[in-house]
Symmetry: C2
Subunit: 197 residues, 2 copies
DNA sequence: AGATACAATCTAGGGGCATTAGGAAAAAGC
DNA sequence: GCTTTTTCCTAATGCCCCTAGATTGTATCT
């Protein structure tokens, strides 16, 4: 019997592919081992356990998504950048539904692994950078970043879960929501409390 | 041995409680049976299988969340209603993290069961009703509803997953995001394509 | 009340998955 | 070539999902 040449990365990739094809909860040690032509126990030399594997898939997805966004917004600014950013986000969720869902699980990932992965950190930096065109000062900038990420994540997440009935194409609503976000960022409300009715 | 007096609803409730206490993926047939002082096999007289149980938990959560929102916005209008709606949403997610997460799973619920549950349908109606104060015409109204739901779901979801680093309190960002949504709804961008730069 | 029908729960068992421990075999180092 | 390390395997344990068939409690009918 030859050797399979497994590594943590190859196991993670197999798990990610399985997640996209069959759904995240079909990502089991057994299924991943089968896909790699290996016995389940063999995986434990490369991955601590199932939870660890799912965490690695989540980090892989974060890295990939960040990379796509970075490429998409390179050389763009303003609304162009906003739309490119958002479309790259949504497209990644469509192309890799299982990996994307992996990023949603309440995180309990090996901190050392997280430190090594550039994805999550860079994602936030990219968002800040992209929004800098709108000239928001802290803490408004942070709030805008969070609103932005919330809306994009919420939309793609609801869309994936079938949350939008088929009355109006989700695509159309998406475009309009981006218009709305752009408008909002250009007219971010002032922080004062007592605005006279 | 006396009888346990199980019903589908009691099984669902036990599952929901377990989801909130221990996390959705600790909701297993065995665990629910243990909590009810019953053997696992006994549950199958009331619930088709584990997937069915999770679907029922999701519907229960949808109903409960909708009810809370309905109570919160009763008698309110405009920004008052918006804030009450959003806070009720977020509060439900905080109070019942497991149930809330159950509503996120890609739905594969018994259609007959869904038809019987008022929650999901009513939730959409409530949102439309609340936004009617902003005088949006279709299809903008639908897009606004979707943006609204996306943002609220995305925020609570990211918050629950620990997506917001602790730099700025999530609570503060939440309040500002609601301000922003209100502003946006009052100044919803027109549908025209060619807006001159 | 006694017999009967119905439903709820249990016992028993098959099959899958996660995980650990220890052995064999391939690759790498000396 | 021999030793060491790494990779992968076999074996075994325990939990979990789910089905089938027996059993027992409750309601109904006469």
């Amino acid at each position: 019997m030859g050797r399979a040449g497994l590594t943590a990365d190859r196991v993670t990739l197999a798990g990610a592919e399985l997640a996209d094809e069959a759904g995240l909860d079909h990502v089991t040690m057994s299924a991943v081992a089968r896909r790699l032509g290996v016995k389940d126990a063999s995986l434990y030399a490369h991955v601590r356990n199932l939870e660890d594997l799912r965490g690695r898939i989540a980090l892989l997805a974060a890295d990939e998504k960040t990379l796509r966004i970075a490429e998409a917004i390179a050389g763009r600014a303003g609304k162009d950048a906003l739309v490119a950013y958002a479309n790259a986000w949504r497209q990644y969720a469509h192309d890799h539904p299982g990996r994307y869902m992996a990023t949603q699980i309440p995180i309990q990932i090996d901190p050392e692994l997280v430190a090594r992965a550039p994805g999550p950190r860079r994602a936030v930096e990219l968002t800040y950078g992209m929004l800098r065109a709108y000239a928001l000062a802290e803490p408004d900038l942070t709030d805008a970043v969070r609103l932005m990420r919330s809306t994009l994540h919420g939309f793609t997440s609801l869309e994936a879960a079938g949350g939008f009935a088929h009355a109006r194409p989700a695509e159309d609503s998406w475009v309009r929501c981006l218009d709305a976000l752009h408008t909002l960022l250009e007219h971010w409300p002032p922080r004062d409390e007592g605005d006279p009715a």
